[in-house]
């Protein structure tokens, strides 16, 4: 029995099936029951932050074909907006999360609209990168609002609330589990929104755009509108994730959110996991962030090995871990069946 050709796999995997999706959610929801260590939970929460960021970036690049290199801009906008309105205006951090997302989505139009006119991928990449660098410069220099490079500190954590009579959920610095579940909630909402999008008419239009823009346009697909929808959903959830990050860490510096390093991380995660696959970025986030933690013992060699690993992964599995995983599963299945017929 021949292993399934790669091309067929690629088409089948573009959108995950509901069972895999809900299975992943369930697995992620069970993790805190198995792991009680605060340090590990912190790492898992960071994994979820990057999983959400990489998945929303994947929507923009893998599905809508907008090669953005400015995803950190939306992340940072959400983080700073929510931090500033909760500190200065006393808005509840719970309200800060969606408002941070809305603010990011609103400002994303400033770069999104000019970008949609560009057709060559690197131009879009550099224009979006320039947008986020502009925000970094503003953030560093508008000291009266953002305190510049000193950064904002004392950002209020998510306010605690009572659940029933005897359970109170705290979100202060010591309570990792509730924060993990909040981030999981944001992640699941983002994934469901994207899942809904991909299975709707918009999703079909997006897929046709990625395959061939001109053919899609000639069939009457409104390119600009669908790209804009993907752009807005992506930047909204990146903003919400940023807002969560601000309240979770309670300190915020321009470089921690707006730096190119964040973007490199998101790109590496998505590509290692598998770009254009629905759950690839999540797999990539957990693999790379946990992997980087495991390398911590190597001290200065850590990032050297990390860089080398990126190269090795891409050489061995150019389509990402998820595709590589699926291919080996099919191959093993093929071998087993071959054994049976014999």
């Amino acid at each position: 029995m021949d292993p399934m050709p790669a091309r067929k796999l690629l088409l089948r995997l573009r959108v995950a099936n509901p069972a895999t999706l809900w299975g992943t959610f369930a697995l992620l929801a069970l993790l805190p029951l198995l792991i009680h260590n605060d340090y590990y939970l912190n790492i898992l929460t960071i994994c979820l932050i990057y999983a959400a960021l990489a998945s929303t970036w994947n929507l923009m690049v893998g599905y809508a074909g907008i090669l953005s290199f400015g995803h950190q801009a939306f992340y940072g906008l959400g983080a700073y907006f929510s931090a500033i309105i909760t500190i200065h205006l006393g808005v509840s951090p719970w309200l800060g999360l969606p408002l941070g997302g809305l603010f990011a989505a609103l400002l994303s139009l400033a770069i999104g609209i000019p970008c949609l006119r560009l057709r060559i991928a690197p131009y879009i990449a550099i224009a979006t990168l320039a947008f986020s660098e502009i925000l970094l410069v503003i953030c560093k220099n508008w000291v009266s609002l953002t305190r510049g490079e000193m950064g904002l500190s004392g950002i209020p954590p998510l306010t605690s609330f009572r659940l029933g009579d005897f359970l109170t959920l705290n979100f202060g610095s010591g309570s990792k589990v509730p924060n993990y579940y909040v981030m999981l909630g944001i992640y699941i909402l983002a994934m469901l929104a994207m899942y809904w999008l991909m299975n709707s008419k918009v999703g079909l239009a997006l897929k046709s755009l990625r395959e061939d823009q001109d053919a899609a346009a000639s069939l009457g697909v409104d390119i600009t509108r669908y790209k804009l929808i993907a752009f807005l959903i992506s930047s909204f959830f990146a903003g919400v994730t940023g807002a969560f990050y601000a309240h979770y860490l309670s300190i915020l510096t321009p470089e921690s959110v707006f730096s190119v390093g964040e973007m490199v991380e998101v790109v590496a995660i998505t590509l290692v996991g598998g770009i254009g696959t629905f759950l690839g970025p999540t797999l990539g986030a957990f693999t790379l962030i946990v992997g980087l933690e495991l390398l911590r013992g190597l001290e200065d060699y850590r990032f050297m090995i990390y860089g080398a690993m990126l190269v090795i992964v891409v050489l061995l599995l150019p389509n990402g871990l998820l595709m590589g995983f699926h291919r080996s599963v099919t191959r093993i299945k093929g071998l087993l069946q071959f054994g049976k017929t014999k």
Partner: protein
């Protein structure tokens, strides 16, 4: 404040800065033109050029005229090996346009942290290769800055001649114009790719070497030139040779004159805003040429 001598001095500073941008951007545009990929490890070749110069001058005590060619040649070899081992296996395979991005990002992270681990994170100072200043009409120009300008001009003209006159240049242009037709004509495009990658890295290394005395040497010094060079190649039109050079000098001059009326913190806004404005007005870049 806006007297003529100050303006001329700023212009020279801008041209020096611009020559760095032009050299680094030419390398980027060269790779894009032939291989249709963006090299995110490009800034690291600039960094290696800086370190090579530091070691040659300060540790081994060699004269500058020996250090610069040796450093540039060594980096050509490093880039050559890198292309053979990690870029070449990915080229032409499905998804190569994205997998090469990760490969070069990974190589960049590796090289940065290699430098950090073995050479340390200190800001290392390199002395001017040419001492003294030239004084004319009450203005002072450091000889080293003039050397950078002259070097850039010589390199650009030489490079231009190679591309236009030699057989290698012909093969390069053919591959850039139409890869498949070039293969049919029997051009060994793999070898062209490898040599192009090496040449592009050498240009970045040369810029890093020449500018080491002006900006100090450290493992992260390649970041800023890479981002600036990306802006330059877009300004000039991606794949355009003239665009990269003129774009480099334009950006250098803009930044240098902006210091006169903007505080240095806001200086970077100029280049990024310029880029977005150009893309909105003329999406194909200033010189939008597709051939060179």
């Amino acid at each position: 404040m806006f007297t003529l001598p100050i303006m001329i001095e700023q212009a020279v500073n801008g041209l020096v800065l611009g020559s760095m941008y032009a050299l680094v951007a030419t390398g980027l545009t060269l790779i894009w033109g032939t291989m249709k990929m963006l090299n995110f490890a490009h800034g690291e070749f600039y960094m290696l050029g800086g370190f090579g110069t530091y070691f040659g001058l300060m540790i081994l005590g060699l004269p500058p005229w020996l250090v610069v060619p040796i450093a540039v040649f060594l980096i050509f070899i490093i880039a050559f090996i890198l292309e053979k081992s990690i870029i070449s296996p990915l080229m032409g395979k499905p998804g190569w346009d994205i997998s090469t991005v990760v490969a070069t990002l990974g190589a960049g992270i590796f090289l940065q942290n290699f430098a950090f681990k073995f050479w340390g994170g200190d800001f290392l100072n390199v002395p001017y290769m040419f001492d003294g200043v030239l004084r004319i009409w009450g203005m002072a120009f450091a000889w080293h800055r003039l050397y950078i300008l002259a070097l850039t001009l010589v390199v650009i003209i030489t490079f231009w001649q190679i591309v236009k006159r030699t057989r290698f240049g012909l093969a390069l242009r053919a591959t850039a114009q139409d890869n498949e037709a070039a293969i049919l004509m029997g051009i060994p495009f793999r070898r062209i790719y490898t040599i192009t990658f090496g040449l592009s890295a050498s240009l970045a290394a040369l810029a890093g070497s020449a500018l080491a005395p002006i900006f100090s040497v450290n493992p992260w010094m390649g970041m800023v030139p890479l981002i600036k060079a990306l802006i330059v190649v877009i300004l000039g039109g991606l794949g355009s040779f003239t665009g990269a050079i003129l774009g480099g000098f334009i950006l250098g001059l803009c930044e240098s004159f902006s210091v006169l009326f903007l505080s240095s913190g806001w200086k970077d806004l100029i280049s990024f805003s310029l880029l977005i404005i150009i893309l909105v007005i003329k999406p194909s870049g200033l010189f939008g040429a597709k051939e060179w």
